[in-house]
């Protein structure tokens, strides 16, 4: 087998195992209260870490990224549909870029 195939296969294995093992193994396991809270807070901690500061470098210009992020934030605050929030973020960036470039 070609070694590039081998590389992709190994990358696939080390990516798949952390995705699969907890879902298959921990499902019937009842965690103590602290760990239950920990696991329940994971999504919010992860979302926040994914958003900040990464979004600032997502458009090549921190100010236009801020405009898009702010548009998304306002739409999300008023509980618009997720698709509209995504489109709002894109339009926020595009409007800013067309005004100031």
């Amino acid at each position: 087998m070609n070694s590039l195939w081998m590389l992709v296969a190994l990358m696939a294995v080390v990516t798949y195992l952390p995705r699969m093992l907890p879902m298959v193994m921990f499902r019937r396991f009842t965690f103590p209260p602290f760990w239950k809270r920990f696991l329940r807070f994971i999504p919010y901690a992860a979302l926040s870490a994914l958003i900040f500061p990464g979004f600032l470098t997502s458009t090549g210009n921190p100010v236009s990224a801020l405009a898009g992020g702010l548009a998304a934030f306002v739409l999300a605050w008023y509980r618009f549909n997720l698709m509209l929030i995504v489109l709002g973020g894109i339009f926020g960036v595009m409007i800013w870029q067309s005004l100031y470039n």
Partner: protein, 253 residues
């Protein structure tokens, strides 16, 4: 436990199969924002790999078998600068270890009767984005058929985008892709912000995570860490701090 989605109205022995199908389709619909966000990024991946001189089949197979955005970009980059294969594999592992936490978090909301093989298949599609969408849903239980629909449309979009990037990207205007860079971040914001209004614990955890991530990213002794490791450390620390500081935070119903 009660499950609050529209497919539940069909519960009954005779309609069990349609019920699974509707749950699956509900997952597919829910995943549309992820799919829309994935296409331009996957196009960028395919185009970048092509311009770095990576053989087409390697890019296509990475999206099919590895299916992890950040580590595919990093992997192709390391390949093009001639890094050792073991370095690429270790980097990929570290970058994707955060999915261990996400998988553990989701595992607590899978119905008891779910099949192991089904879960082993569904878990292949776990990404930052599909996890985020699934985990902020209101219903306490997440059915495997729902997760399968959600993960499948995201996977299909990622692979379609990769093909476009590898085989057609020369004919696409670059300006369209630039504006799309914000799409997945806007989705993350759309998923997090409504939860901020519900709980002070979530506000505190979010601020803590964002602050810690900024420190790890920008302050010199830490700024050499890989992005995946950053996110893993910050997520563990902020969620653990939340679990310590907010012991009264009640269980979801």
């Amino acid at each position: 436990m009660k499950i609050h989605d529209e497919t539940e109205t069909l519960v009954g022995d005779g309609v069990k199969r349609e019920n699974h199908m509707l749950t699956f389709l509900h997952g597919v619909r829910t995943g549309i924002p992820v799919a829309v966000g994935y296409v331009p990024i996957a196009i960028a991946f395919g185009a970048m790999a092509k311009s770095a001189g990576i053989p087409d089949y390697v890019s296509v197979m990475m999206s099919l078998m590895v299916y992890a955005g950040a580590s595919q970009f990093v992997g192709v980059n390391l390949l093009s600068v001639g890094a050792a294969y073991w370095e690429i594999v270790v980097t990929t592992f570290v970058l994707n270890l955060r999915h261990f936490l996400m998988s553990a978090s989701l595992s607590q909301r899978i119905p008891k009767g779910a099949s192991r093989i089904g879960l082993a298949l569904v878990s292949f599609g776990l990404t930052d984005e599909t996890f985020s969408l699934a985990s902020v849903r209101q219903e306490p239980q997440l059915r495997p058929a729902f997760l399968a629909g959600l993960n499948l449309i995201a996977f299909a979009a990622w692979n379609a985008g990769t093909w476009i990037g590898v085989f057609l990207s020369a004919s696409l205007p670059a300006t369209i892709q630039a504006g799309m860079g914000i799409a997945l971040y806007a989705m993350f914001i759309g998923l997090l912000v409504p939860s901020l209004k519900k709980s002070r614990a979530i506000v505190a955890i979010s601020l803590l995570a964002a602050g810690m991530h900024a420190v790890l990213r920008w302050v010199p002794p830490f700024s050499g860490l890989s992005a995946g490791l950053d996110i893993l450390i910050v997520t563990v620390a902020a969620a653990a701090a939340g679990a310590l500081l907010f012991p009264k935070e009640e269980e979801p119903s």
